[in-house]
């Protein structure tokens, strides 16, 4: 048994269809619980007031925006090195999900920033690198649509993904790299584990983060299945046309 057996589209679809119902249910429960808990069950922050409730959307989506790109990077590397079509299609499938997560993070950040910072937008290192990441997502999706041959499209988008990874890393660590700008540092440092968020905000936030992570996984599995089916339909259509 090897993980590479799931590079076979049929095996991938079989496993994916088995896992998905549970994944969708758990993801929905976690997202709904995290958001309802955060919205209805947490107090206002003494400085931010009720705008603190925006973190249950902003933090999980920002996290997934960056992690989606890293997932695409791994899938792209697998495509470039091992030429497994499923991995290229998984990267393609993840991009629109990452794009929406990035957009939600940008929009909620701007809505939060207006009352807290006094501006919707600032050319701050983290905000700017996040905006560039958003543009990379758009470029990546556009490139897939623009190139007719699917293998060439997979090659070109994989290279674009490698380049864009610089901005995904910058989005994550911009605050530490430049130590300037409006955006605060992370409140949940994974490396040290010394979070500065109090428990009353942390648990609903954690639930929401887990939910968004699972939702991303469910969406990517579903969308990858769609891409596999479309590719198979195209291959059959080409075969029929050659016969005529």
């Amino acid at each position: 048994m090897s993980i590479w057996q799931y590079a076979n589209p049929v095996k991938f679809l079989t496993l994916s269809e088995k896992v998905q119902p549970i994944l969708w249910v758990v993801a929905t429960v976690c997202v709904v619980t995290g958001l309802l808990w955060g919205f209805f069950g947490t107090p206002d922050d003494f400085r931010q007031g009720s705008t603190v409730k925006i973190i249950y959307l902003h933090v999980p989506t920002a996290l997934m925006a960056i992690n989606a790109w890293f997932m695409m990077l791994v899938a792209s590397l697998i495509w470039l090195i091992r030429r497994h079509h499923v991995s290229a299609l998984a990267a393609k499938a993840a991009a629109p999900v990452g794009l929406v997560m990035t957009l939600i993070a940008l929009v909620t950040g701007a809505i939060w920033g207006q009352p807290m910072w006094g501006t919707w937008w600032a050319w701050d290192p983290r905000l700017t690198s996040f905006l560039i990441l958003f543009i990379f997502y758009l470029g990546y999706i556009a490139l897939w649509e623009a190139v007719e041959d699917p293998d060439t499209a997979a090659d070109l988008t994989s290279v674009l993904c490698l380049v864009g990874s610089v901005f995904a890393v910058l989005s994550r660590y911009a605050v530490q790299f430049w130590n300037q700008g409006l955006h605060q540092g992370t409140s949940i440092p994974v490396a040290t584990g010394e979070r500065t968020v109090s428990d009353v905000f942390w648990y609903p936030l954690l639930t929401s983060m887990i939910g968004f992570g699972l939702l991303f996984l469910a969406l990517v599995l579903y969308r990858t299945g769609t891409e596999i089916r479309l590719r198979r339909a195209q291959a059959l259509r080409n075969r029929m046309e050659r016969r005529l």
Partner: protein, 52 residues
């Protein structure tokens, strides 16, 4: 039912509305495209089966 959001009610509610609309749109389009792909593959497999 909605908690008292004070002077930031518009900001908080609009952040939730915009996010849920974007997420809902993504899920709707994902499911719609998935269903269309299944139907397309089913039709073409039927056609291939008929023509040998």
């Amino acid at each position: 039912m909605i908690p008292d959001l004070g002077k930031y009610a518009v900001e908080v509610l609009s952040a939730y509305a915009a996010s849920l609309a974007l997420l809902g749109g993504l899920i709707y389009l994902t499911l719609r495209r998935g269903r269309a792909a299944r139907a397309e593959l089913r039709d073409i497999e039927k056609e291939v089966g008929k023509n040998g």
